[in-house]
């Protein structure tokens, strides 16, 4: 039952055949996903887009939603350089996460520091995105 995450071997701890059940599960997920994508495609409002006019700056220009959080963060940190530095450090910390966070415990409930930190960081990302959108 308990799977040793540190095991190097591939199949010794793996007990269920991938085919057909796990493949079928993915097949179901695949078709549900396609249904959602095409439903969105057909029913989301189209929006009217005017052609670009480099001479005419719109009143509220914002990046796309996935850049709103870093954008909003740069806006609220008074020192631009400090804002960039924080983002750079955060990016590197996430990139090299497996090299500084080495807990053996797997279950989120058994990681009393890491799990709350993750939740705070993800919540901050969502909050900054919403803030950027509605400010």
């Amino acid at each position: 039952m308990a799977v040793d995450n540190n095991s190097k071997s591939t199949d010794t701890n793996h007990e269920e055949p991938f085919y057909p059940h796990e493949l079928l599960k993915f097949g179901v997920a695949f078709f549900v996903f396609l249904a959602v994508l095409f439903t969105l495609t057909i029913f989301l409002p189209h929006g009217i887009h005017e052609p670009a006019d480099p001479m005419n700056t719109p009143a509220h220009i914002k990046p796309e939603w996935y850049f709103l959080a870093p954008y909003q963060m740069l806006k609220i940190v008074p020192n631009e350089l400090a804002g960039m530095a924080v983002q750079g450090i955060l990016g590197l910390a996430i990139l090299f996460l497996p090299f500084w966070e080495k807990s053996k415990r797997r279950h989120p409930a058994k990681r009393p520091i890491f799990t709350p930190v993750c939740i705070v960081v993800i919540s901050a990302f969502i909050a900054l995105t919403l803030w950027g959108k509605y400010s």
Binding site: N5, L37, L40, P58, K62, Y66, K102, R106, I122
Partner: protein
């Protein structure tokens, strides 16, 4: 199934030429996974699915798209209004881009809370972060291509962001735009990155990602 005596003639034909049965068995009937793999383990596969959809719809869009400031907007309008099913291809591509980011983020959060990035899977995580970054840059460069007011000023704000970095900031802004302002040079630059460089890089990193997860197997449930 594949090893049974009722194998099809086609399978036998292929077997004689490149011993396909063993590979098929290894990757299907004889491939074992941990018990209680749940639905969240589908997120990575779905990210690949949407990437393939983006490539296919992107190729169709490229058949009619014209990457110049004068023609870009009109060519998208033509695709949406005149080309048979062009509206569908264009909509799937644009909504698919956002969907892809959401799926990749969800996949990352799943791996994070399952602590699935620990030894020996550190490089899986690192290649995944690169894939996430490439996904964002691909979306960003694609967003400029329709040359609408939103995309033009979105690209202006976006390319301005590295400007506050010390020493190389100004240079990065200039290099990403190719000119002082976002212009036709930026458009062709973004187009080349969006349709060739970035998808090729995503394919390479994804290939690495998949080979590694095949070698180590997925991290089991808790």
């Amino acid at each position: 199934m594949f090893a049974s005596k009722k194998d099809s003639a086609l399978l036998d034909w292929l077997e004689e030429r490149f011993t396909i049965k063993e590979e098929l068995e290894k990757n299907t009937t004889k491939k074992m996974v941990p018990p209680h793999i749940n639905w969240l383990y589908c997120l990575g596969g779905l990210s690949l699915t949407i990437f393939i959809i983006q490539v296919v719809t992107g190729v169709f869009l490229m058949m009619y798209y014209k990457p110049t400031p004068e023609l870009a907007y009109g060519s998208i309008e033509f695709i949406v209004k005149e080309v048979p099913y062009g509206w569908l291809i264009q909509r799937v591509h644009s909504i698919g881009a956002n969907t892809m980011i959401i799926l990749v983020m969800a996949h990352m959060v799943r791996v994070l809370f399952y602590n699935a990035y620990q030894k020996p899977r550190e490089l899986h995580w690192i290649s995944g972060i690169f894939l996430f970054g490439l996904t964002l840059i691909t979306s960003f460069t694609g967003y400029l291509l329709p040359w609408t007011q939103l995309s033009y000023w979105g690209a202006t704000v976006g390319t301005n962001m590295p400007g506050s970095a010390p020493i190389i900031g100004e240079w990065m802004v200039r290099m990403s735009r190719g000119s002082e302002q976002v212009s036709g040079v930026t458009l062709t630059r973004f187009f080349a990155l969006h349709v060739v460089v970035l998808p090729a890089m995503i394919s390479a990193f994804a290939g690495w990602h998949f080979v590694m997860i095949r070698r180590t197997g997925v991290a089991g449930p808790f």
